[in-house]
């Protein structure tokens, strides 16, 4: 399923969804410690986190994640938003927990 289709299915709120929303999501990773995310997240993953700082789009880009979902209604700060736009990383937020989001994504894969 594509980024956009997953966003629709899970009722995610788009924060940065101007580019790369037709990309297919192939997996999912949950993590907030960025070094761990960098060593474990795979290309094409939907990355679920509660972090919303400037380093999030950088890590998503380096690991080639298909999308970032910020759980528990946490927000992306403005510096991070402009970096996400610059890198073309789709970012969404949700009031759901990381667990609920991951369960929803599993059904989409």
């Amino acid at each position: 399923m594509t980024v956009k289709e997953i966003a629709d299915r899970l009722k995610l709120k788009a924060v940065c969804a101007e580019e790369n929303t037709e990309r297919t999501v192939t997996g999912c990773y949950i993590g907030d410690l960025l070094s761990l995310v960098m060593s474990k997240a795979q290309s094409g993953d939907a990355w679920i986190t509660i972090q919303g700082n400037i380093n999030v789009p950088a890590v998503a880009s380096l690991t080639d994640c298909a999308m970032v979902i910020i759980a528990e209604n946490m927000q992306l700060d403005s510096a991070a938003l402009s970096r996400a736009k610059q890198e073309g990383i789709p970012v969404y937020t949700s009031e759901k927990s990381a667990f609920d989001l991951a369960c929803g994504i599993k059904e989409c894969l």
Partner: protein, 141 residues
């Protein structure tokens, strides 16, 4: 060697907003040169970890990158406080980062281990009070 590409970057101290710019730029260059995504990921993650370390622990520094068809070498030099105990610093989970850094998602004690994991060669030269040089190479196999 004629086909060596040399790149140079400056990393500012205490500025997370620019951390990742050098690794992001190198990633783009490697992509344009047609390196595999596996090689690009290794180089980009190792460089990013090192950049973040320079921002957190040192007063910034400089990065020199040499790209040939056979290998990518990244030399990170800073004038920071130096690493007291390299063996300890290489252990996963060991970190001297403060609370502010941890809130940003770093300080998990994975930086140096990640750099080692993602590179084929890694040499650290450090002197207390003078600085650290992290020299890493990824071979293109």
């Amino acid at each position: 060697m004629a086909d060596t590409m040399k790149l140079h970057y400056t990393v500012d101290a205490d500025d997370f907003t620019v951390a990742g710019e050098a690794s992001g730029a190198v990633k783009k260059v490697l992509k344009q040169l047609g390196f595999s995504s596996d090689i690009i990921r290794k180089v980009a993650v190792a460089m990013y970890e090192c950049e973040i370390n320079m921002v957190i622990h040192a007063d910034g520094g400089v990065i020199d990158v040499e790209i040939t068809p056979e290998k990518i070498r990244m030399i990170h030099s800073d004038k920071g406080p130096g690493i007291k105990d390299i063996e300890k610093a290489m252990q996963e989970g060991f970190s001297t980062a403060d609370e502010k850094v941890r809130e940003l998602g770093f300080g998990a004690g994975m930086g140096l281990p990640n750099m080692k994991r993602y590179t084929d060669e890694m040499n650290i030269t450090t002197k207390i009070g003078e600085g650290t040089v992290v020299d890493m190479t990824v071979y293109v196999k």
